[in-house]
């Protein structure tokens, strides 16, 4: 055996810290981009990424992964799957590609920041691979939906979404800009690699794969699980950062970074993953409920890991558990009602059988969310489709950018948490979003929600057509309509007839 083992030379390849002479250390590693926690260079040299790969291995393995993903696409593109795919499922795909493809590309820059500004040589090398990974994810997730634009213009959002100011996009950008685009290398490694990539991307990239397989979309399930196999590696950047911070007396700071980012990402993924899982996937193909999935992946797998590296569950844990029961159900109602403002066709999809399933998975659903849908169903049965559009403007949270809502029904849970700061009033959906704002009001104060923009004159005049155009609706593609053209109420029509 003539070649050396990786372990023999790997350490040397990350002994690359040196003491700058011609420029000052804080010039080479400005605190804002590098390490605001003020740990010495030496402390970061202990950084040991648990998942190791060499460049030689990387290009080989990644080449194989791509050969696999692209070949499967090529082979199956002749199958007629998308011709006859369920409209709810197509909505899931549109939502996915619109939300994910270019966000992955932004992550290249975030990885680039870690690669340039981290004081930990191990992190600099590992995020070079991370950067490449994110490029891969972007390219896959542009190339795959590209062929779908010939069928349906709403797939154009795969490329266009983040270039628009659609309210859903603003929500995603606010979150991602916060956790990965405007933080130093260390905080980014906690927020992006640990909270986001270790904690929550599994929901979308692995969870949905099971449903996709059931539905027969092997191309998609193969692609997203292949993507996730990259995450499993580079997401490991976060844990050593946290361990080093804890070891150097910065546990509170690490905890705060986690608490902020976990909540932010949760609020987003519940929409991105929760709604499709519990509403868009046809009932007979559903693998498990979003809640069960959260248990498997987040509560069991992620939190246990969190614990093992020495952090605590976020302070708002009980609120989080409660939110798992509510958030995405509320937003399903909201998105469906405001369907003309989104780029996919959200199915109402709460027929009698679906409701039974929802009630079983989320006890109490019928008495709360069910009542909300009862009114809608009643209107549809009476032929008053127009009454199923709210024709008013919701209050949008100044943190997560999502309409403020909570479980309907007798308990009056929906409530706005308000804060006045520098003569401006801010609205929040939950105490947690409010708490995040309060940690760093200067960071968040200037951003206007889509609704703020209607009042502040950014969208002028704030008429519905103007707002839609501003959001890219009618520009990139038409807005959404009910995914099943209301056929899901047929079950109720039959019940009424009987």
């Amino acid at each position: 055996m003539a070649l050396l083992d990786r372990s023999e030379w790997y350490g040397l390849a990350r002994e690359t810290n040196w003491t700058p002479r011609y420029v000052a250390e804080n010039e080479l590693f400005p605190a804002d981009l590098s390490d605001p926690y003020g740990l010495p260079m030496k402390a970061w040299e202990a950084f040991d990424e648990p998942y190791k790969v060499s460049y030689r291995e990387y290009v080989k393995v990644q080449r194989e992964k791509d050969a696999n993903a692209y070949s499967v696409k090529a082979a199956l593109s002749r199958s007629k799957f998308y011709d006859s795919a369920d409209e709810g499922y197509l909505s899931l795909l549109k939502l996915h590609y619109g939300a994910v493809s270019l966000t992955e590309y932004q992550a290249c820059q975030a990885q680039g920041r870690m690669s340039r500004f981290s004081k930990a040589p191990g992190m600099r090398n590992t995020s070079t691979f991370g950067m490449m990974d994110e490029m891969r994810h972007t390219q896959l997730q542009l190339f795959f939906p590209h062929e779908l634009v010939t069928r349906d213009r709403q797939f154009d959002w795969a490329h266009e979404a983040t270039h628009t100011k659609n309210w859903a996009v603003l929500g995603g950008r606010h979150c991602m800009d916060d956790i990965m685009m405007t933080r130093d290398a260390i905080t980014t490694s906690i927020m992006l690699s640990f909270a986001f990539e270790t904690g929550l991307t599994n929901l979308q990239m692995v969870g949905l794969a099971a449903d996709s397989e059931a539905i027969g979309d092997f191309t998609f399930s193969n692609m997203i699980t292949s993507i996730q196999s990259d995450e499993a590696r580079h997401a490991q950047l976060g844990t050593p950062s946290i361990e080093i911070l804890i070891k150097n007396g910065k546990k509170a700071e690490a905890q705060k970074a986690l608490d902020i980012s976990f909540w932010r990402v949760w609020r987003l993924f519940a929409i991105l993953t929760g709604i499709p899982m519990d509403y868009y996937i046809p009932l007979e193909k559903r693998h498990m409920s979003f809640k069960e999935f959260m248990h498997e992946w987040v509560i069991k797998q992620f939190v246990r890991q969190l614990n093992d590296i020495g952090l605590e569950k976020p302070w708002y844990w009980d609120m989080f558990l409660d939110d798992i029961e509510n958030h995405h159900h509320c937003q399903q109602g909201g998105i469906w009602s405001w369907r003309p403002t989104v780029w996919w066709n959200p199915p109402g999809a709460v027929g009698p059988k679906e409701r039974e399933w929802l009630e079983k998975k989320y006890p109490g659903w019928n008495d709360s969310y069910g009542r909300y849908w009862d009114v809608i169903i009643g209107n549809l049965l009476d032929g008053h489709e127009e009454k199923t559009h709210p024709n008013c403007i919701p209050v949008i949270c100044n943190m997560c950018q999502i309409p403020v809502s909570n479980r309907p029904g007798p308990k009056w849970k929906a409530r706005v948490y308000q804060l006045d700061y520098k003569e401006k009033r801010y609205n929040f959906c939950t105490p947690v979003c409010k708490w995040i704002f309060e940690q760093e009001p200067e960071r968040y104060k200037d951003f206007e929600t889509i609704v703020d923009r209607m009042y502040s004159g950014v969208i002028d005049p704030p008429t519905l057509p103007n707002v839609l155009t501003y959001m890219g609706i009618g520009v990139v593609s038409n807005g959404g309509r009910d995914g099943y053209d209301y056929s899901w109420i047929n079950g109720y029509r039959k019940q009424a007839a009987e």
Binding site: W18, Q62, R63, Q109, T128, M135, Q139, A158, T182, R443
Partner: protein, 329 residues
Amino acid sequence: MADTDDLSKPLKTFSHLAKQKRRPSEYEIVSTNLIWSTADPKAPWAMSPDMPLSQWYIRHRNQSPLRHDDWNAFRDPDQMVYRTYNMLQDGQESYVDGLLDDHSRNEHDKGLSRHWLDALRQLYTPGRYLVHTVQMSSAYLVQLAHASTVENCAMFQSADQLRWVQRIAYRTKELSKNHPSLGFGTTERRSWEDDAAWQGFRELMEKTLTAYDWGEQLAALNLVAKPAIDEAYFRQLGHAARRNGDTLLGLLNDAALIDSERSRRWTKGLIDFVLKKDGNKAVLDGWVKKWAPLGDKAIDDFCAALPESPEAAGEARTAAREWRKTLGF
């Protein structure tokens, strides 16, 4: 007549490419117009424009004197996508594996002279620090690129450097195993920080890394520092290696220069692209003038220490300059 703005008509490609009215390549589909943080020059991010990172982008990217009104029009002459990059480099790495394996079987290291081993310890193995700085600097270009087509090139460039950081580390370890008493694997940092041969490159790279204006970093790195490193550290050191019976290093450095060729192709493409806009020539001239002496000095310092290579510095300086000349400087 089909109209891409007519929403009732299906698209043949993403709307932003539909205007070309030709079938887009895979490269175009997956690489173009992916950045949206340039849309509002005053607020790159949803976070407050006053935030340090927002300010950073505004100052160092948006307000760079190197300007173009349509950065997205740039195209990589190699039209490299991630998929093809890995195919290419997997092949290249198989070749390097083969080199290492063969030479190791032939006990190549045992045959090296003490004289040359000293040179390797002084001038080759500390190079991982140097190449790593290029990796970092390229990553900076990634972070602040105006257009995805530029950003991707920088990403491949950064990954290429990591490739050589690891191959140098590999060789360092191999040399230390075959010659345990010579300090391979332990003295590199000291050489990089203290040896006169390295101080030119160290100064060049420390300053390049902190030239935070995006355009200036591009000029300093890709027009001056990288060519200097290619010519001195890879090419001239490779020549010297061959003269000293170290065929392995000669071949390894040739392989590294293949990556550099690719980097030069897109650099030339990008420079040609920006020079079509008024004002950029002067800006770049200024930077080249400012950085070239540091590059020359780095070459001189390094080549001076190269054994039996009196002509090395001259050749390297000329080669770097000649290349810049082909770009118009």
